[in-house]
């Protein structure tokens, strides 16, 4: 394999990894604060992709329509996330299996709704104007859109880091991750915090859906395909760690990208292998805290 080819695959994997990162961020945030695992995260991603696509179609011709549709997708999915969170509330006190079952049921429901609203076929979404070409960097030719997605991913990561480290909301979130009950006792309204966190996570998932749409095609199987990859990230990186999510996204993205060269039809196998190996060797993930 030539150096140029290697770099190409690497950047491709990095791009996919960034999408996974955006999703994993939301999942880790929701879990860290609410101790709820959102099985429906992939479904939110799919809804984001479809709503974004159809908003973009509707706005066709308008300048910046792609970006508008990314934001709108994020907002619509955030709203959906708030609805889900509201329905989930009575279950917070219950066993984890009840919460898992609930979000699992949502996956079934959302999956069918998407099929009903938008049909079961696959659509391809073109890249936004300005990013449809390629750029040459040091002898390697890379699609500009990939670089954009990577940029967005890094920016989001930094943005979130700033949010957590510098803002009041960030401090509350970090406190809640460390000790949820304490935060409630301190007078912070937990329902609002939970809704907010779930909303942010959902926004990230929805926006990621539309952002990732031009990278491949969107269709009704997206939800399960992506959620397995995102779970792989979270398992490898540890459920409680943002840094772990970042590292793991990179790893899983690259494993998938290079895996396609070996087994084009089933690159998922390699993601599996990584997930399985990590689970056997270090069940708490590479960075996450041991969860019993």
């Amino acid at each position: 394999m030539t150096l140029s080819g290697f770099v190409n695959q690497f950047v491709s994997g990095l791009t996919f990894g960034m999408v996974l990162f955006l999703l994993a961020l939301g999942l880790v945030l929701i879990f860290g604060v609410m101790r709820v695992v959102n099985f429906a995260h992939g479904s939110l991603y799919m809804v984001g992709a479809f709503t974004g696509y159809f908003v973009w179609e509707w706005l066709k011709g308008m300048t910046g329509s792609f970006w508008v549709s990314v934001i709108v997708a994020g907002l619509l999915v955030a709203a959906l996330g708030l609805v889900l969170e509201y329905m989930l509330r009575p279950l917070y006190a219950r066993e984890h299996s009840d919460q898992i079952l609930f979000t699992y049921g949502c996956v079934l429901i959302i999956g069918d709704l998407v099929k009903w609203l938008w049909g079961g076929q696959y659509h391809s979404v073109p890249r936004p104007p300005g990013f449809q070409g390629r750029i040459e960097l040091g002898g390697v030719v890379l699609p500009t859109y990939y670089l954009l997605v990577i940029g967005v991913g890094v920016a989001t990561g930094l943005g979130l880091w700033l949010l957590l480290a510098r803002t009041k909301l960030g401090k509350i979130i970090r406190a809640a991750v460390a000790d949820r009950e304490m935060v409630g006792i301190l007078g912070i309204r937990l329902p609002r915090l939970f809704a907010g966190v779930f909303g942010i996570g959902a926004f990230l998932a929805g926006a990621a859906g539309m952002l990732a749409a031009p990278l491949g095609s969107i269709g009704s199987g997206m939800d399960v395909e992506i959620i397995v990859a995102v779970f792989a990230v979270v398992i490898v990186g540890g459920m409680g760690s943002f840094l772990g999510a970042a590292l793991a996204s990179l790893i899983i993205g690259e494993v998938y990208s290079f895996g396609i060269l070996v087994l084009p039809a089933a690159a998922q196998v390699f993601m599996f292998l990584v997930m399985v190996v990590v689970l056997v060797v270090r069940p708490q993930g590479l960075i996450g805290a041991p969860e019993r």
Partner: protein
């Protein structure tokens, strides 16, 4: 209490035995599907109701059993009887391998892994054209002429399912079954009395997988064909719904759930667009409002009535 459930059971057995008499073939096939579903759901409940593990990949073993029978009959040319018997160890080995990894994870991670393995095998079945004929699936897998009619195959299914149900009931009541329940109720305490959690979870997984595989094999010669859809994650949702509906904390809960499920399946039509949607709604509803399922609810009513009558008797 025991008397009531014994009576109910005997009534059910009589109904099941007498069913094919004077009943349309369509309904015999429905009952057949119910029996297969009941076994499928019971296998799921070994993990969920008894061991406290939520598996979203039960269809994996259903599919492995189904494909094993199909391939052994069509590709290896074995007789139905031999193929059916051999499908069991094949499923057991698969469950052993997958279970080895899944049993190292708990709660959420366990569920995710079962889903992931399910997807993996689904992809394998869909893409490995040379062996599994891919998306087309394998057709024309007929039971032997001795079981050729709907009625005869129904009785065969009834016999196999009854045997498996009895075996599962025995397992649930054995010390092994009690150990599983202790793991469900309190893994930490269970470990503190000397129980190797990983081992038992692994074994529960294998038991669960084997019985799901038998259900799958029964399905193959019922359906005369097998396709990758039997391995899809939405298929894995079916025993979940059945068990939740009937109640995971009663041995017979999954059976009740399977009956309700099969009943609605053919009034709503399985291949309508809203099948997954309906299953999702049922899950949401039951989890939120009826956590013990229909079976659990009935059980509570009977308990309450019994306690009330006891109080009444004591007051007299």
């Amino acid at each position: 209490m025991k008397r009531w459930s014994a009576v109910a059971m005997m009534a059910a057995v009589v109904v099941l035995l007498a069913l094919p008499w004077g009943v349309r073939e369509y309904n015999i096939q429905l009952a057949n599907l119910f029996l297969i579903g009941a076994l499928f759901a019971l296998s799921f409940n070994v993990l969920f109701g008894y061991t406290g593990l939520l598996s979203f990949g039960q269809a994996t073993f259903f599919g492995v059993g189904a494909y094993a029978l199909a391939l052994l009959m069509k590709k290896a040319g074995l007789s139905f009887a031999l193929a059916f018997v051999l499908s069991v160890p094949i499923t057991a080995v698969t469950a052993g391998v997958i279970g080895f990894f899944c049993s190292r994870a708990t709660e959420f991670f366990f569920s995710v892994l079962t889903l992931a393995f399910g997807q993996l095998l689904f992809v394998v079945a869909s893409k490995w054209y040379t062996v599994t004929a891919g998306d087309d699936g394998i057709q024309s897998i007929f039971p032997p002429t001795a079981l050729g009619s709907a009625t005869r195959y129904y009785y065969f299914t009834l016999a196999v399912v009854a045997l498996c149900t009895a075996a599962l009931w025995w397992i649930a009541r054995s010390p092994f079954g009690y150990t599983l329940q202790s793991i469900r109720d309190n893994p930490q305490r269970s470990e503190a009395i000397g129980i190797n959690l990983r081992w038992y979870r692994w074994m529960a997984f294998v038991v669960s997988g084997v019985f799901a595989g038998v259900a799958g094999a029964l399905f193959t010669t019922f359906n005369w064909a097998v396709a990758p859809t039997e391995l899809e994650w939405t298929k894995s949702a079916e025993p979940v719904v059945m068990t939740l509906l009937g109640g995971p904390h009663l041995f017979g809960g999954p059976i009740i759930g399977a009956a309700i499920f099969t009943f609605f399946q053919f009034y709503l039509g399985k291949h309508t667009l809203f099948w997954a949607f309906s299953m999702g709604v049922v899950i949401l509803f039951v989890v939120r409002f009826m956590p013990g399922g229909v079976g659990g609810y009935l059980w509570q009513r009977v308990q309450a009535a019994r306690d009330a009558s006891r109080k009444h008797a004591a007051q007299r």
